[in-house]
Symmetry: C2
Subunit: 485 residues, 2 copies
Amino acid sequence: MTRLLSLARVFGLMLMVFSITYLLPILTSLLFGDGTAGLFVADMCFTLGAGALLWFATRRFVRDLKAKDGFLLVVLAWTGMAAFATIPLVSYLESLSFTDAYFETMSGLTTTGATTLSGLDQLPPAINLWRHELNWLGGMGIIVLAVAILPVLGVGGRQLFMAETPGPMKDSKLTPRITETAKNLWLVYGTITALCILALKAAGMSWLDAVCHAFATMGLGGFSTHDASVGYFNSPAIEGILIVFMLLAGMNFATHFQALRSKSLEPYRQDIEAMPYLVLMIGSCLGIALYLWLQGTYASYWSALRHASFNLVSIATDCGFSSTDFNQWPIFAPLWMLFLSCICSCTGSTGGGIKMMRTMILVKQSELQMFLLTHPTSVNPLKLGTLVVPSNIMLSVLGFIFVYFMSIVILTLLLVMSGLDFVSAFSAILACINNAGPGLGQVGPATNYGSLTDFQVWTCTLAMFLGRIEVFTALILLTPAYWRK
Amino acid sequence: MTRLLSLARVFGLMLMVFSITYLLPILTSLLFGDGTAGLFVADMCFTLGAGALLWFATRRFVRDLKAKDGFLLVVLAWTGMAAFATIPLVSYLESLSFTDAYFETMSGLTTTGATTLSGLDQLPPAINLWRHELNWLGGMGIIVLAVAILPVLGVGGRQLFMAETPGPMKDSKLTPRITETAKNLWLVYGTITALCILALKAAGMSWLDAVCHAFATMGLGGFSTHDASVGYFNSPAIEGILIVFMLLAGMNFATHFQALRSKSLEPYRQDIEAMPYLVLMIGSCLGIALYLWLQGTYASYWSALRHASFNLVSIATDCGFSSTDFNQWPIFAPLWMLFLSCICSCTGSTGGGIKMMRTMILVKQSELQMFLLTHPTSVNPLKLGTLVVPSNIMLSVLGFIFVYFMSIVILTLLLVMSGLDFVSAFSAILACINNAGPGLGQVGPATNYGSLTDFQVWTCTLAMFLGRIEVFTALILLTPAYWRK
Ligand SMILES: [K+]
Ligand SMILES: [K+]
């Protein structure tokens, strides 16, 4: 009980910090005079008040957090903040149901970027900025989750990814190390975001669009201020800039940090995920462009390459922008993009899916098994670069991937049972659990998730939440073992 | 080189034995006077001659087979025999291409039961019997493959399943133990087949139909002598009998053997796969019947239960009969059936997919991972019943499942790239790699694989072959390590 109360205290503090983020939409509203400032001020006070109340009521329960507490805190943080963040949306858009609003804020904070809203172009600037800020804040949260929290919790073999974080690990105090790591990573995250804003402005976007799209890019969220997404701008320069920053956001921010600190590209060479990630991306762009050109979707290879590159990088990094309705392409192309969205983005990035590191472990493990079949007596450890992967970590990674696939199967069957067609259901779950955004069919890039029933929207909300916190973090809360002393 | 020649010698012997199986269609042809006896005699002589020639040319290369040789021999046996078995089909059906004929015989020998033929009702009795005999012989081959060969080869954690086979294992001589095991298992297989023939005859089938359908049932092949499959008979009695024998054929034949020898049901209680297999089957039948009834597909629960039970058991055991066009059902029902076809059938049965044993290992491993997250210091081995599963076997099982899923992804993408729609492509590959038979959409139970292009037919042929020999057995032949001394 005191454990729960001390967690409530931390959550109260988190809410109070979260309320500060309302300053940005308030400022935007005042700047543009869009009349929503009052709403955001009210919500800010409400969130701050709720946080303060919670903290005040539990202030005596100061306790060091243990690794085990992390599971509940992560779940609380994502679900709770998404709930508070709905207030400006439901107050301004009176026709918006809580179901759709919660989908929207969860989509923002998990950086999925799927939306149930249409008429984005007509939304007040402050509302749009708020949606995009959720993408950006979600990205921050994810980086800390990926680099500092999940490794300590040991979810899905994440222990392996702790190499770069200094200090002791195991079951020791969570807070000091996370604070230190977070500070460094956010510095990098902020710096690259600033560069992205300037580049987009230079390429012709308005300041508002530049800030919003930079937020959506760095968090790999993929929200847009336009129903036509990036297709609205129809600008190769903007698409090129976004491709570069999406690729950066899909890499490990710890690597970016080391590269910035050492002012050298050497860390990228040592990052074992970076090369396969880039090779797979660039190879797929060239290949899919060739396929679309041969299929006659585009008359010239160059325009095929332009559209294939932007949309493929966007889906494969789990960003989710679109520049054209790729749902109309021969279906092999979007399926390949969805496949990449499962496996491509790097550990410690703001992308989703199983991550390149785990993909590499799977591939190596299969190769090793094949080798062992012809050499049954040899003892070969699994190696990634110079890193030996112990078999308990292997099992943990494989267990994670199994649970991830089973979640896809079960959630897809739920959607299908509720009456959705198979392609829409399967692609919606893939797009949500990988935090990519648009799917195919009824939830394709030209439409959105607004046509789904409430049950289907909640299923998709669950998918993006589970995908973001790596499934196990939530499942474990359902086991009696977690709640035992 | 001498290794290859000694394998060629064994393959020659296998062909000579295989030629004996032509006696049954020859006898049938003479009995029914359908005029195809000459064809089968010619093919028998050709197969016998080819086998004898191969054996004679390599007769000096007598060598004990090592485990490693098993991979090549298994691949040779399936692909080679399927090739020889096409001769009666292409000779009689002049319009049939080699592609479609090879699909048909591979489908028969892998007990997939998918067909490119239509007008089955009009085929000569001997041709139909030949197709069904391939199902039955394939079933025999599969039982030996599963119980005696794959465990020795160590494919996908199969070592674990060796408990029941006596004698030494490891890298020792293959032949004597396989012979002994095979003799016992075939005795059981033959006995149950005979019972099935008698039961089907008693329920009103002609002798020919009874023999053909009993062959297709025991091998879980699912070929039929009628385009409408078992729906042709429209008989609850026949469907009931087939359900019982399909369920039997989906269980471990080693368990059947022990039960027969000990004249007790105790071995079924000790078979750790049997109970989850039956519970999953019966629970799914009741659930899907309820779903179809609630959806209004059937007016009464009982007729929903009749059709759900037959078609679900048929697909879930990977048999592949159909009594109605379940492609017209709300898609959740057939998707659930396809899902079961991946995971349900037991080790040492004639079914396909990843097998119940591996499904259980996956589920237990995920539970264990979850437990370890909250108890990081505890050392808990993975147990199935009283059997401890060592972590190298776990890794082997998980490696197998990864390669199996990747095969599904790659082969589906190949079909989609060739222009097939996603539902047809995905369900065709699932139905083929699990050796189940009918898929959905263009390859649903009311149609067949005849409308596919040659490229698509070869892709499906590859899928059923890979599924049957558990992928690794073929992949390993592509590694340089296999061919090194
Ligand atoms: K996204
Ligand atoms: K079958």
